[in-house]
C-alpha cells in the first residue's frame, strides 16, 4: 500500500514540476526571500527566483523525472516504497537547486541530492559493489561540497551577501572573485565527476538503471553546468577560473572518451560517455561568451534526453536479458534474435546512440555543432587560445564518441561476420562462455510501461534538435559529419574482423582508482589505527600513570610506620623544634 502511495506521489510530483515550468514560462524574472536571520552583518536565509534558466531546467528535470518514475513502476518491485520516495525527494532537491536564489538554499538542494544519490546507489544493498560504490560516490561529492561551502564563504563575505541576484562581480575584488569561483569549481568538479574526482560515476552504476538515468545522466551531474550558467557573469569575470575550467573540461573529455572506448559493459560505457559529454558542456561554458553559455545549455537539454533514453534502454536490456555486459548480450545476437524480440528497445536505443554520436539530423548533432560554432567564433573572431583548444578537443571527442557508440551498437545488436563469432574478443576472461545458443524462448519485449518513456525520450532525442531554430553553419556541420565518419569506420572494421583491442591502460582507466585507494584510503585507515592506539596507550598511559603514582606514594609512606613509639616521639619533638624555629624566623 505504501508503495502505491509513493508511486503515485512520485509521478504526481514530477508532473507537477512540468506544470510549474509551463506556468512560469514567460513570467518576468523576480525573487522572493523568506525565513531570514542575521548573523553579525551577514544575513543567513532562503530565497527563490524564477527566470528563463529556471524554467528550462525545471522542464528538463520534470520530463526526465516523469519518464523515470513511470519507467520504474514496472522496472522495480522490491523496496519500491523507499525507492520512489527517495527519487521524489531527489527531484524536489534538484528543483530546489534550480529555483534557489540564496547560496545556502542551493547548497541544501545540492547536498540533499548527494545524499539521495548515495541512498539510491545502495538500493540493492545486498550487492558488494553497490555498497562500496555508494560510499565512494558520497565521499567524493562531499569532498567537492566542502570546497563548494568554502567558495560560498569567500564570495558571500566578499560581496557582503549570500543572494545570487545581489552578487555583483564589480564589487568583489579580483583576488576574492577568483578564489571564490575556483572553490565553487571544486564543488562543481566533485558533483559532475570531472577529472580529479571522476572515479565515482562509473562505480555508481550498480544502482538501478532508472536512477542512473535520472541522477547520473540528466540532472545531478548537470547541476554543475546549471550552477556555472546561473553565476555566469561572476565566473566569466575571472579569466583564470575560465582557463582552469577549459583545461579540466578538455582533459576530462578525452580521458572519459578513451575510457568509454575500452569499457566492456553497456552502463559503464554510458557512464564514461556522460562524463565526456558533461566536459563538452563545461568547455562551451569556459569560452566565456553568451553563445558558449547558450550552446552548453542546449547541449545539456539534448544530452539529458538522449542519455536518459540510453540508460533506460540499458535498463530494459538488464531487466530482460539479466546483464548488460557485452559478453552476455553477444550470445543473443545469433540471427538478430535480440534485435527482433526487443524491437522497440532496439529502435529507440539506435536513435539514442545516433543522437549521442552526433549523426546529422539527430538532436546531438545540432547541439554539438552549436558548441563547435561557439568555439570557432570565440577562437576565430576573438582569437583566444582557449577557443582553439576547445574546438580541437571537442572535434576529437566527437570522433571518439562516434567510435564507442558504433562499437556498442554493433557488438550488442549484430553478430560479427568474422569466423566463429570472434570468440576471443570479450571472452578471454570467461573461458566457459562458448557461444552456444542460450534459450531465447523467455526473451520477450519489455512491458509498455517501460517502453512508453523510451518512445517519448526517443522523440525528444530527435525533436529537440530542431527546437532551437535551424541556423547552421554549413562548414562546421560538414566537418563534424566527417569526424563522425572517422569514428564509425574504424569501429565497423574492427567489429567486422571480430577484434576488440582494449589497451590495458584504458581498461584500468589510467589506474586512477587504485592510485586514489593507495594515496588516501590506506593512509587514513592506518591513521585511524594510530589514533585509536594513541588514545588507548599514549594518553591512557599518562592517566593510568597518575593513578599508579598515587598508590606507589602511599606504599612509600607506609614504610615510615615502624611501630616504635620512641621514633614517633622523636619525630614529634623534631617537629615542635622546627616549628619553633620557623615561628622565630617569621616573627623576625
Amino acid at each position: 500500500m505504501i508503495a502505491t502511495v509513493w508511486r503515485v506521489a512520485g509521478v504526481g510530483f514530477s508532473l507537477l514540476l512540468i506544470l510549474i515550468a509551463g506556468l512560469l514560462y514567460g513570467v518576468a524574472p523576480e525573487q522572493t526571500s523568506f525565513l531570514n536571520s542575521s548573523v553579525g552583518d551577514l544575513t543567513i536565509g532562503f530565497a527563490v527566483r524564477t527566470d528563463d534558466l529556471t524554467v528550462l531546467l525545471l522542464a528538463v528535470v520534470g520530463v526526465v523525472a516523469t519518464c523515470v518514475q513511470v519507467y520504474s513502476l514496472s522496472y522495480l518491485h522490491e523496496r519500491a516504497a523507499s525507492y520512489h520516495a527517495l527519487v521524489t525527494l531527489f527531484t524536489a532537491a534538484m528543483a530546489t537547486v534550480v529555483v534557489a536564489d540564496s547560496l545556502f538554499l542551493l547548497l541544501i538542494g545540492w547536498e540533499v541530492m548527494g545524499a539521495c544519490s548515495y541512498l539510491l546507489i545502495s538500493h540493492y544493498w545486498e550487492r558488494r559493489d553497490a555498497r562500496s560504490g555508494a560510499v565512494k560516490a558520497f565521499l567524493m561529492t562531499r569532498l567537492g561540497d566542502v570546497g563548494f561551502l568554502f567558495g560560498i564563504f569567500v564570495l558571500g563575505v566578499g560581496a557582503g551577501t549570500f543572494r545570487i541576484s545581489e552578487l555583483d562581480p564589480a564589487q568583489i575584488s579580483p583576488g576574492v572573485l577568483t578564489a571564490g569561483t575556483l572553490l565553487l569549481l571544486v564543488g562543481v568538479v566533485g558533483k559532475s565527476a570531472q577529472v580529479p574526482l571522476q572515479t565515482w560515476l562509473p562505480d555508481a552504476m550498480p544502482g538501478p538503471s532508472p536512477v542512473s538515468a535520472l541522477i547520473h545522466a540528466a540532472t545531478m551531474v548537470a547541476a554543475g553546468v546549471f550552477l556555472i550558467a546561473r553565476l555566469y557573469d561572476v565566473f566569466s569575470a575571472s579569466a583564470t577560473t575560465m582557463t582552469v575550467l577549459a583545461v579540466i573540461a578538455c582533459v576530462t573529455m578525452l580521458f572519459a572518451a578513451l575510457c568509454a572506448m575500452a569499457a566492456v559493459e553497456v552502463k559503464r560505457v554510458l557512464a564514461w560517455s556522460t562524463v565526456s559529454q558533461l566536459a563538452i558542456m563545461f568547455s562551451a561554458l569556459s569560452l566565456g561568451t553568451q553563445e558558449g553559455r547558450h550552446a552548453a545549455l542546449f547541449h545539456l537539454v539534448t544530452h539529458a534526453a538522449f542519455k536518459g533514453l540510453l540508460f533506460l534502454c540499458a535498463g530494459v536490456l538488464l531487466h530482460q536479458v539479466g546483464s548488460a555486459a557485452f559478453v552476455v548480450l553477444r550470445r543473443y545476437t545469433r540471427r538478430g534474435k535480440l534485435r527482433k524480440t526487443l524491437r522497440v528497445t532496439f529502435v529507440t536505443m539506435t536513435i539514442g546512440l545516433a543522437a549521442l554520436a552526433g549523426v546529422p539530423g539527430f538532436a546531438g548533432f545540432f547541439s554539438k555543432d552549436t558548441v563547435l560554432e561557439a568555439a570557432w567564433e570565440h577562437a576565430h573572431k576573438d582569437g583566444s587560445a582557449i577557443g582553439w583548444v576547445v574546438l580541437a578537443s571537442v572535434g576529437l571527442t566527437a570522433a571518439f564518441t562516434a567510435f564507442y557508440c558504433a562499437r556498442l551498437w554493433l557488438w550488442v545488436f549484430f553478430r560479427t561476420p568474422a569466423l566463429a563469432g570472434a570468440m576471443g574478443a570479450f571472452e578471454q576472461d570467461d573461458p566457459m562462455a562458448d557461444l552456444e545458443d542460450p534459450d531465447t524462448s523467455k526473451l520477450k519485449e519489455a512491458p509498455w510501461l517501460m517502453l512508453g518513456p523510451l518512445v517519448l525520450l526517443a522523440v525528444a532525442a530527435i525533436g529537440l534538435g530542431y527546437v532551437d531554430g535551424l541556423h547552421l553553419n554549413w562548414v562546421i556541420a560538414l566537418g563534424s559529419t566527417v569526424l563522425v565518419l572517422f569514428g564509425v569506420l574504424p569501429a565497423y572494421s574492427l567489429w567486422s574482423r571480430g577484434a576488440d583491442p582494449r589497451p590495458v591502460v584504458l581498461e584500468r582507466e589510467f589506474g586512477m582508482d587504485r592510485a586514489y585507494h593507495g594515496l588516501f584510503v590506506v593512509p587514513v585507515r592506518w591513521l585511524s589505527k594510530l589514533s585509536v592506539l594513541g588514545d588507548r596507550d599514549v594518553i591512557g598511559a599518562y592517566v593510568r600513570a597518575v593513578g599508579r603514582s598515587g598508590t606507589l606514594a602511599s606504599q612509600g609512606f607506609r614504610l615510615l610506620q615502624t611501630g616504635n613509639v620512641q621514633t614517633y616521639l622523636t619525630g614529634a619533638v623534631v617537629g615542635v623544634v622546627a616549628l619553633a624555629i620557623l615561628a622565630g624566623v617569621i616573627a623576625r
Binding site: R558, T562, N564, Q566
Partner: protein, 107 residues
C-alpha cells in the same frame, strides 16, 4: 637573684629529661626522665611566681597541682609498664613493635 638562673636550670633539666625519654631503652627509665621534665616545669612555675608576685601565689599552687598530677601519671605509667612486662616478658620500649602495620595484600 637574676630570674634567668632558675629558668636556665629548668631548661637544662627539661632537655636532659627529653634526652632520657628519647634515648633510654628501659620503659621505667623513660618514666623517670619524664619526672625530670615535670620537675623542670615546676621549677619554672615557682621561679615565675617568685618573680611575678601577684599576691595569690598562683605559680606555687600550680606547682602543687603538677606534683599531684605527676603522681597520678606515674601510677598509670607503671601500670602500663607492668602490662608490657607481663605481655612481652621485657620492658624494652625499642623492641615493642606491636603498632607496626602488617603488609596486607595490595587491593
Amino acid at each position: 637573684m637574676p630570674l634567668v638562673l632558675p629558668l636556665l636550670l629548668a631548661v637544662v633539666l627539661f632537655c636532659l629529661g627529653v634526652y632520657g625519654v628519647l634515648a633510654r631503652r628501659n620503659a621505667v627509665t623513660i618514666l623517670m626522665s619524664l619526672e625530670l621534665m615535670l620537675n623542670a616545669v615546676n621549677l619554672n612555675l615557682v621561679a615565675f611566681d617568685a618573680w611575678h608576685l601577684d599576691g595569690l601565689a598562683t605559680g606555687q599552687t600550680l606547682a602543687v597541682f603538677v606534683i599531684t598530677l605527676a603522681a597520678a601519671e606515674i601510677g598509670l605509667g607503671l601500670a602500663i609498664v607492668l602490662l608490657l612486662f607481663r605481655g612481652h616478658g621485657h620492658v624494652d620500649a625499642d623492641a615493642a613493635r606491636d603498632l607496626v602495620e602488617h603488609e596486607e595484600s595490595p587491593t
